[in-house]
């Protein structure tokens, strides 16, 4: 098993190298001179040259790449040109906000989609089966920013039950003492009921938006995979042996059906990390997505590059852990290795 994990980690290394090369190419090797952009329209040739030297873009490409790698090794992602702040620090400070949102959204999606898929598969052509089919087709068609705005309109403007869709906390409260950066956990640790409730209230709508988005592929896959497993021989044998329907579905079928679902989680996460950016913009969520969007509008490259790299590295690591998890759950993979 350890060998399996080790091999899988080795496989992730070329991918990470590819990711680093692509992020470098995206900003350095492409046409357009950031130095000329930042010097402004009134700049002289000399001042552009000075900025070039400051940015290091006057050096040969291979040397720039070497410097980029050594900066990365020290955890440096450059400075934002509009604020002058180091990008690495900013991303580190904002990452928990994005992670909390994405994880709660995914949790919500899994909690609804998996039971839904199972019910749909065990009762073909029933109401829940049709509902699942409609939800899984409509869900992938919904632009995530549109869902978010509709939820804001219904729950904030009409019903008045949701707080104003701005940020992670009520403006009059101060954030809990920093432990994990997850406000829900930090507030619970600090036994601060008021902050916990406020953080939860702010989180519900954006997490719901992401959840609705992720729900469709998970429900679809659960249904398809449960259907396949339920028609297999070992389930027939289990039924014929007189096991209770509950035991057949939950113990026998469900555990086997979950494997393909875990594989799709990788794809779902790819969409979720992208959708996260849009949801953060809608709810003014102070995560890394809204940080990158602000930088994009200002044509500030370093934060965008840092953001793309962070997201890609996170995604590679998440896929890695999904594969390891898969190996842990499925004994066949362990034996075959």
């Amino acid at each position: 098993m350890l060998l399996l994990i080790f091999n899988r980690v080795l496989l992730a290394i070329p991918t990470l190298v590819g990711v680093v090369v692509v992020t470098f190419v995206l900003t350095r090797a492409l046409p357009g001179d950031p130095a000329a952009y930042f010097a402004g329209p009134a700049a002289t040739q000399q001042s552009i040259q000075e900025i070039r030297v400051k940015l290091g873009t006057d050096r040969p490409l291979i040397e720039q790449f070497g410097r980029y790698i050594s900066d990365l090794a020290r955890g440096e992602l450059g400075n934002s040109l509009t604020t002058g702040q180091p990008v690495g620090k900013e991303i580190k400070a904002r990452l928990p906000a994005s992670a909390e949102l994405t994880l709660i959204g995914l949790l919500f999606a899994v909690m609804i989609a998996v039971p839904m898929g199972i019910l749909a598969a065990t009762r073909p052509n029933s109401f829940i089966d049709h509902a699942t089919r409609i939800v899984s087709t409509a869900g992938v068609s919904l632009p995530v920013f549109f869902t978010g705005l509709l939820l804001v309109y219904v729950f904030y403007y009409i019903l008045g039950v949701a707080p104003s869709p701005v940020g992670r906390l009520d403006v009059f409260l101060s954030p809990p003492r920093h432990v994990t950066g997850f406000y829900l956990i930090d507030a619970a640790l600090g036994r601060d009921r008021e902050v916990f409730v406020s953080a939860l209230k702010q989180l519900v709508l954006p997490a719901l938006t992401l959840g609705i988005f992720a729900l469709a592929p998970i429900a679809r896959m659960t249904r398809a995979s449960m259907l396949a497993v339920l028609s297999s021989d070992f389930v027939r044998t289990a039924r014929a042996s007189g096991l209770s329907p509950y035991k057949v579905v939950v113990t026998y079928a469900f555990r086997n059906a979950m494997l393909p679902v875990i594989t799709t989680l990788g794809m779902v996460l790819s969409f979720l990390l992208g959708a996260n950016v849009l949801v953060e913009k809608v709810f003014a969520w102070p995560g890394i997505g809204s940080f990158a969007v602000e930088a994009l509008i200002a044509s500030d490259f370093a934060p965008v590059q840092g953001f793309v790299l962070t997201m890609a590295v996170l995604y590679v690591l998440l896929n890695l852990s999904i594969d390891v998890l898969y190996g842990l759950i499925d004994p066949r993979i362990r034996i075959n290795s």
Partner: protein, 288 residues
């Protein structure tokens, strides 16, 4: 009657059968016709100029005069939503055609030649897949510059692995097929075999792939313009119109963001359904 005509007729009969059997596909096809109609003729049919502002009629709710209401500058939203169809559809179609050409040919080359060509192309595809796709698209538009053309390019690049993989798998099976061997023995070169034998056979599968990814291409492009990339105001485009209406959602003027969002949703929904329907026609085994 020649064998080709028989095959063609049975193909049409099969398509008619699938559409008849599956009212959802027929519905999607109807929607598709309506969308194309709006894209082609929309700009000459709408009641108002989509760019003409009239502040005396700003922020009016939907009425008989303005079906979808007016925005903060008094522009007629119905006209804007309809006119935007052309731009949104053009971006999606252009990106899908681009990736069809690039990904399809690269995939066929990888599957047919194998060896180092295969390795290089698949490594590129794997590296693209290592990124969350929307995030990579953001990075590409940021690097290439903020324009509609670059949105098309970015959307095509993030879809590249999908097309390359499908085309590679299909070309790989056909490499050893009898008709390819026959073409080789009669002295055809590799290039001619790829273009005349492999491509026509892989084509239908790639067309299905196109309609399956159209919906995603529309969503991706609208998402990019929602965060302020590519399309610039006052140009009517669904993503940017939703972004413009977002601020009014909290003060109750729902229609500004709602109608462009709805149009976006209907278009994506239509292409997703159509893609599933087409797949059923061409590849009944993969039906879910």
């Amino acid at each position: 009657m020649s064998a080709g005509a028989v095959a063609e007729r049975s193909g049409i009969a099969h398509a008619r059968y699938v559409i008849g059997e599956n009212p959802v596909t027929a519905f999607a096809f109807g929607l598709f016709v309506a969308i194309v109609f709006a894209a082609v003729l929309g700009p000459s049919l709408v009641p108002y100029d989509p760019l003409a502002s009239n502040t005396s009629r700003a922020l009016q709710a939907p009425s008989a005069q303005h079906w979808f209401g007016t925005d903060q500058l008094g522009r007629d939203l119905f006209s804007r939503v309809i006119v935007a169809t052309r731009l949104d559809l053009t971006i999606a179609v252009a990106s899908v055609i681009l990736v069809f050409a690039l990904g399809g040919l690269a995939g066929i080359a990888a599957g047919y030649y194998g060896g180092w060509i295969d390795k290089v192309i698949m490594r590129i595809a794997d590296t693209i897949m290592a990124f969350p796709l929307f995030v990579l698209a953001m990075g590409i538009v940021a690097a290439l510059g903020n324009s509609v053309t670059n949105i098309v390019i970015a959307t095509a690049i993030v879809n590249f692995p999908l097309y390359a993989r499908v085309a590679r798998a299909e070309a790989n099976i056909r490499r050893e097929a009898g008709y390819v061997e026959a073409a080789k023995l009669s002295g055809n070169g590799d290039g001619r075999i790829v273009l005349m034998q492999i491509l026509p056979n892989v084509f239908p599968i790639l067309v299905v792939q196109m309609s399956l990814t159209m919906g995603y291409a529309i969503l991706n492009a609208a998402g990019l313009s929602f965060i302020g990339l590519g399309v610039r105001p006052p140009m009517p485009e669904w993503g940017i119109m939703v972004a413009e209406g977002a601020a009014f959602m909290v003060s109750g003027e729902w229609w500004i963001a709602f109608f462009p969002g709805l149009a976006l949703m209907i278009a994506v929904f239509c292409f997703n359904l159509l893609g599933d329907g087409l797949r059923d026609i061409f590849d009944p085994r993969r039906r879910t």
